[in-house]
Every structure is written in C-alpha cells, then in structure tokens.
Symmetry: C2
Subunit: 309 residues, 2 copies
C-alpha cells in the first residue's frame, strides 16, 4: 500500500459529566485525509480547506503526530498529506482529534499496521496536546477506537470501549462563534468542592451504568456536569435556551460538546432529534447568530479507510 | 406477621474511588435484629451486645429510623426491638447502616411490605445521617438492595444496582482502634484540585465498566482513591504495609472500608484471599495491635428475613 484515503470523524469530548475522560465518535461531520508514503524523508502537508491552518509540519498537528510516528519507526520515510477539513477548528466537535487520529491511522495503514490502536493514541496525543493545551484522550480515543470510550489519564492512557446504546440519535448545533480550547480551559476553576466532586463521579457512575444496561432514562439523568458547564456555558450565547427547549422537545440530556461552542443533545428517536434540531435553529435565528446543525448518531467505528492503492 | 428476625450484613462503603457513592454488601459479619409489632405505640429497643449503645429510641439510630417510618404510617403502632450487634460501631464496616437497614426492612415486613426498597432507603438515611454526619447512601443502599450499588446523591437518592462480578473474594482486616465516621470526615479537605477530580471519576468510570464486563484487571487498576485515602490512611497504623503486602500476595486492589480503620482487598480466588488475610494478620501482630480478619464475599442480597411468625 502506497496511498490511502481516510475519513476522520467528529466526536463529542467531555461527555458532560465525563469531563476530560469520556467521549464518543459521531458519523458526521468528517475530515478527509489522503496520505502517500514516500521514500524521500520529510512530511509535506497541504490543506484543501479554507481554515488557514499552517502547512509547516512543525506547526501543523498532523505534522507533529507524524513526526512522533516516524521517530518510532526509525528508518527514513516520508509522508505526503492532503487534508480536507470539514470539522471547523475550535468548534468543540473534536476537530484537532480528527486531524491527529486520521493522520496516525492513515500512516499506520501505510506502515502495514505495525502499531496497535493504543500506540496510535499516544502518537495522536502528541498533536492533541499542542492543540488543546492538555493531555486528555477523551476525543482522541473515540476518534481511533470508535463508539464511546473511557480514557483513564494514566501513562500510557488506559482506554476502555463501552457498548454503544441502541437507537440513540444526536442533535448538534454549532453556533458560528469561536471558543478556543485553551481559552475554555483557562476559564475553569483549578479547584472544586468535594461535594461537587461527589456529584460528578456519581453522575459518571450512573452514565457508565446506563450505557451498559442501555437504560436511556439513566443516561439522561446522569448527563449533568457540575465542573465545567457552569463556567463554559457563559461563553455560549443561547446555551440556556437550547438546553431548556431541547429537553421540552423530548431530548434525554446533553450539554456542551468538548469545550464548546457546539452543543449536543442525545435523543431516543430520529424524530425527536429532528424536533430538537428545529429548536436549536430557532434559538440562533432569534439571536441572529449563524449556526450549523446536524442530526447524526454514534459511530461505532473510528477513523475509516475508504480507499487504498 | 407479628414477629420477625433479620440478619443485617456488614458492607464496604466509599468503595475506594467511589467515595460517598459506591458500596457493596458482604456476607459477614452481620447483626441480628428481632422485631415485634405492638399495638401499643412507642419504640422499645434492647441491645444484647456489649457495645454500650443508647437504648433510648430518640438517641438510638434504629429508634430514629423507626420513628420516621411510624410517622409515615400515620396510625398508632409500636415496635419492640432486640438487637445483637456483631458489627462493631466505628469499624468502617457499615455498622450504623446495618442497624438502620435491618430495622427498616424488619419493620416493613411487619407492615406487609407497604414501602418500596427506595422508600426504605430514605427512612434508613434518617438514622444514618445522625451516625455519620452526612446524607450518603453508599452503605445504606447495598445494605438494603444487596450486591454493589451506585447511590446518586439526589433527593430522593437514585440507586442503581450493579451486577456482582463472579468469583470475587474479600479479605478484611479490622484493627481494633476506633475511627469515628464524623472524625474521619473532618480530616478530609473541602476542596480538591480539578486534576484530582478527573483522576477520580476516570477511576469510577473504569470501576463501573470493570464490574459490568467482569474484567477483574480493570476493577483492580481502577481501585485508586485520590480524595480520601491519602488523608484517612494516616489514621490507620499499618495501612501502607497492608496494601503493599496484599498486592504482593495477589490481591486485585482495595483500600479503606467506609471511613476506616477496616481495610478490604478484593481477590480473584479464595486461596488468594486467605493468603492476603495472613499478610494482614502479620502486619498487626508485628504492630502489636489487636485485630479481626474475615474472608468473605459480596452478598447479592440485602437484609435477610430469617424467621417470622
């Protein structure tokens, strides 16, 4: 194999109570990465999107991930990469993770899959750290493994794949304002009260139990975040209205995706998700803020190889 | 039914990372409570044990739970209670919860099971709050429901029963020193760092996932407490040695039971649990501190009615 094309999917990190730990992969949107293995060493990156990301491999997170990988391979190889990003950077939909995960999975395919998925997570984290300012695999892990994952912040990261509940739809709204991950992190307190902590891990326990038992009600009532959402929600105009109207329209629960400004709501049927999407649209039309909405579902697969030669 | 005898089992609260939230019921030790329904109103309590607990129902936690229940029944009834406590108060083995859970389950049997288990938890909490200084159902919930439970601290408490992993044995050591729950609570910080919190709920997520998938290794490596054990372990002579030697003897993991001084270790076989018990005995023999040890297992049932007439 000399050339490969992959789809790298958006995802929801900080799955509400699972701050920095639990995330899930989505079916849409997704980036497209073409990669070619070259005998000539070096990494060449070209973006066909209009996001203005740096193409210098030392400044591009794809370059940083591939540099970490080539260092581990320890023989002269190079990569020629063409990236069409469709997941807007700074959206909260795991844009940087999609870039990093897509790059390492594509490169691994070109290297005869010499690395395990767990090893790929470590390479991808090299780029993710630069993008987000912290070593958190809550987006990288589902981007590579698919589905819903727990990423215990050990060294190396301990990844646990959870079952994907049946019939769960995801309504998403991305108001077109930028919230930088690093800024959204700065706004958080460095300390939380023990009581807040207890509430948080009680919800995490409930969420994981609800996922294993496919108990939608339990999933819904456990989707409460006490540590980040009270702060980050202030950066997102329309947050309260989106949550309130979505719940009234029948959503199970939801919150901020990643560090925002995207919000997502889990719904038991596609019809409810569509109704929730309408509510989301109404909120931002009224606020006169541009937005994008999606109705999608949890993607049981991670980065997908769509062609190779 | 006019008379009933129940066994109310010990349990492990604060299941390591599941501080204030996750607990499990054990097969041993257990208290024996005889209860008689009387037409004459009032609650009479007699202890046949030697722990010197108050028998005045306004000061005895069994009395407090039964007062809450009789108030809800709203007709003139009384209870005559004889209690043989075998779970030493202040042991960290859920002694107060056993009293409260045993009392409300026995009374409910005498009242034709008019209350649900969830309602019984609320009555039992009336006593538990007095004993522990906080409204936490991590011991009450498994004492009533059996097995391993999550108790989300909502109002009313949201209890989720987890599956009981196969072949899990519990080695327990109770050094004969007293650590009062209220004192063990005072020693804890009221604030924790966000980083500590993330580590804690990552472990909770791993523990719950390990329990659902019967993955002993995952259960073991998730049994790390970052919020209470670093402080409370200082109140327990021999703590470090017990943990170290137990792990060397093959335990999966463990920690302080409740607020201590009892420690417990989960083990994959009865033989490993016996070897761990020997290590525990050696530690306290060397320290010249009296102790009790048990090798037991997770009790899938809560309070058990053993006879009625």
């Amino acid at each position: 194999m000399k050339k490969v094309t992959v789809h790298a999917f958006a995802g929801v990190g900080n799955l509400v109570c699972g701050f920095d730990v639990i995330g899930m992969a989505l079916h849409a949107p997704y980036d497209v990465i073409d990669m070619e293995l070259t005998e000539e060493p070096g990494i060449r990156i070209k973006h066909t999107d209009a996001f203005g990301l740096p193409e210098n491999p030392g400044e591009n997170i794809i370059g940083i991930c591939l540099q970490a990988m080539t260092k581990a391979v320890n023989k002269p190889i190079g990569f020629k990469v063409t990236v069409q990003k469709n997941i807007k950077p700074g959206s909260g939909l795991g844009s940087s993770s999609a870039s990093c995960a897509g790059a390492v999975v594509a490169a691994n395919a070109l290297l005869d899959n010499r690395f395990s998925k767990n090893e790929l997570v470590e390479f991808a984290l090299a780029g993710e750290i630069v993008a987000s300012g912290g070593k958190h695999a809550d987006n990288i892990a589902p981007a590579i493994f698919g589905g819903i994952t727990i990423a215990r912040p050990t060294d190396p990261v301990d990844i646990i794949s959870l079952p994907v509940p049946s019939d769960l739809f995801v309504a998403i709204v991305h108001p077109q304002i930028e919230v930088k991950t690093a800024d959204a992190r700065k706004i958080l307190p460095t300390e939380i009260s023990m009581k807040t902590g207890v509430n948080q891990w009680a919800n995490v326990a409930g969420l994981v139990a609800g996922i294993y038992t496919d108990d939608k009600n339990l999933i819904g009532r456990s989707l409460q975040d006490h540590v980040a959402e009270p702060y980050r929600s202030k950066l997102i105009p329309g947050y309260d209205a989106v949550i309130k109207k979505s719940m009234e329209a029948g959503a199970l629960g939801g919150g901020i995706s990643g560090s925002g400004p995207t919000m997502f709501m889990l719904c038991e049927t596609e019809a409810i998700a569509a109704a929730v999407e309408t509510c989301m649209q109404e909120v931002y039309q009224e606020l006169k803020i541009d937005f994008k909405t999606y109705v999608t579902s949890i993607n049981p697969e991670g980065v997908k190889i769509v062609s190779s030669e």
